[in-house]
């Protein structure tokens, strides 16, 4: 595997691996309106990093654990309706981030690259990271495929699904666990502050071109891959940070895909004959 000696190749493989699972998973996040939920979950990742150093366990495992626990706490709190959901998520997201930053400051900062955690460090992906990303990504994709139909059914109408025998709560719990895994592996690529954009932007681009949920998921994966490749190339060409470049590429794809861009174009550069038509009655 001489090929993997090249850091650019490793970055591409890792990024594509994450994009392939982030697209389909992100579709559910968009359909279920869980973008802020996912963002809150990823903000807790920093706590996981700090915990991993404290307990001397694998960092990815620490992140998965912290994200999963946060998700379960979130699910229970939203059910209890202590606060409106958006206020609750806003509170917890930034509380978790602050707590994570404080906890990290107690660690040996020489061993932790804070900027890498926040914005990703795809160009420094090691072979070990790659194994985690590809293994975790494949596992997440496999589990998502297994729960696809019950999850889709519950997303369309939860009660109908329950009456038809879908074990809705179990399905959600598995879904949230898959989210935790994907957040953990995507963190290396774009960092915890940008993870949610890897999950939300590709489905947003794919929506207009899809007539079935499966086509949308496949297109979202494809958009993610294009963003990763484009972002890494741009980063190498113009010496920009790789993670933010990937997200920027995805955003450009989104803007271009909007019907609005056509409208905007015609507004800025109107064709005269259209502007001054007349009625004689």
């Amino acid at each position: 595997m001489m090929l993997l000696d090249d850091f650019v190749v490793r970055a591409l493989v890792a990024g594509i691996g994450v994009a392939l699972v982030a697209g389909p998973l992100g579709c559910f996040i968009v359909w279920r309106r869980m973008a802020f939920f996912g963002a809150t979950m990823s903000h807790a990742a920093l706590l996981g990093v700090s915990l991993a150093f404290l307990l001397n366990i694998n960092v990815t495992l620490g992140i998965i654990g912290a994200c999963a626990v946060t998700a379960i706490v979130l699910l229970s709190l939203t059910r209890l309706q202590v606060l409106p959901t958006d206020a609750l998520l806003g509170l917890l997201a930034h509380a978790a981030l602050a707590l994570g930053l404080v906890a990290i400051s107690f660690q040996d900062t020489l061993r932790i690259d804070l900027m890498g955690l926040l914005f990703g460090d795809i160009l420094s992906v090691s072979r070990g990271d790659l194994a985690w990303i590809l293994g975790g990504g494949a596992a997440a994709l496999g589990v998502l495929a297994l729960i696809w139909r019950p999850l889709l059914s519950a997303t369309v109408h939860e009660e109908l699904a329950m009456v038809e025998g879908v074990r809705v709560r179990l399905t959600y719990a598995v879904f949230v666990l898959v989210m935790a895994v994907v957040v953990a592996i995507a963190m290396k690529i774009v960092g915890l502050l940008l993870i949610i954009s890897m999950l939300v932007i590709p489905p947003a681009v794919a929506r207009r071109f899809a007539r079935t949920p499966e086509v949308m998921a496949a297109l979202a994966a494809l958009v993610g891959v294009v963003s990763v490749v484009g972002g890494i190339e741009a980063s190498l060409a113009w010496d920009t940070p790789a993670g933010p470049s990937i997200v920027t590429t995805a955003t450009v794809l989104f803007v271009v895909s909007l019907p609005l861009s056509g409208v905007l174009w015609r507004t800025l550069f109107p064709r005269n004959e259209k502007a001054d038509h007349h009625h004689d009655h």
Partner: protein
């Protein structure tokens, strides 16, 4: 209270038996000691004013919520088809009617057959968000029928549908029930429309005000107090006739061809 329970105890198999169902939210009792049995091939209508606990009762019967007190016993192997009051699918989720029906586990040919049965074959490949309220009702009914249910539970199946559409939907539900020989539990505000086709009426206002045959219930003082004395005389509206009908697509169909 149960005026007619004795006379309707005709040996039909009980599919769901509820005893003393009570549901409290905080200190407020949405349902108070409700008894109800649903029997094979019987059409039971649940009527009552807004906020009377009709939907709560259905949710308890379906097992979507647990009662604060009382029991729901469902006979072994009973399959329930549920038609919810509304279905909102997010714009972000692209899904055709066919795919929506397949979510229940049905195959292509069954989907085509049932959509034809409910008169909604023309929306098969449309996006779920683009069909009309009446079409949506038929599609939801199709989803329930695809389960080959012993019991069909319909929560206000004509809400938001115009008067003609309502009569058509009730005709359809009645035809389906006779053909499949399944029990039906219907929540309805349109009591005068559904009365004639109903075997058993349960009038609910947190507790069971009265229950029995449509005739017995419509003469019951508690029913008249809830719905006014006029309601008692209007329940024959359903029995009017047309010599033709319309498909959902608007075509004229002479009666007697595809419907009894």
């Amino acid at each position: 209270m149960n005026i007619a329970n004795a006379q309707r105890d005709d040996g039909r198999e009980i599919l769901i038996d509820a005893r003393g169902l009570t549901k409290r939210y905080g200190g407020y009792a949405a349902l108070d000691a409700v008894d109800l049995s649903l029997r094979r091939s019987e059409l039971t209508t649940l009527i009552g004013p807004n906020g009377a606990g009709k939907t709560t009762l259905v949710r308890l019967l379906l097992g979507l919520e647990r009662p604060s007190a009382g029991t729901v016993t469902t006979a072994a192997g009973v399959r329930i088809g549920y038609v919810p009051q509304r279905l909102h699918v997010d714009e972000a989720l692209p899904i055709t009617v066919r795919r929506f029906l397949a979510l229940g586990g049905a195959d292509r040919s069954a989907i085509a057959r049932v959509l034809d049965e409910v008169g909604a074959a023309h929306v098969t490949d449309k996006q779920l968000q683009t069909i009309s309220g009446g079409e949506m009702r038929r599609v939801l009914l199709a989803r329930a029928l695809l389960r080959e249910p012993d019991l069909l539970v319909l929560d206000e199946p004509t809400a938001g549908v115009d008067l003609n559409g309502q009569a058509e939907l009730y005709d359809l539900i009645n035809a389906v029930r006779q053909e499949k020989n399944c029990a039906v539990l219907l929540i309805s505000h349109d009591l005068h429309v559904v009365m004639a086709a109903t075997d058993h009426v349960l009038c609910l206002n947190h507790h069971v005000c009265c229950s029995g045959t449509p005739d017995a219930v419509s003469e019951h003082p508690e029913y008249q107090a809830l719905f006014g004395p006029k309601a008692a005389q209007t329940h024959a509206v359903y029995t009017h006739h047309h010599d033709h009908t319309h498909t959902v697509a608007g075509d004229v169909v002479p009666l007697g061809k595809d419907r009894p």
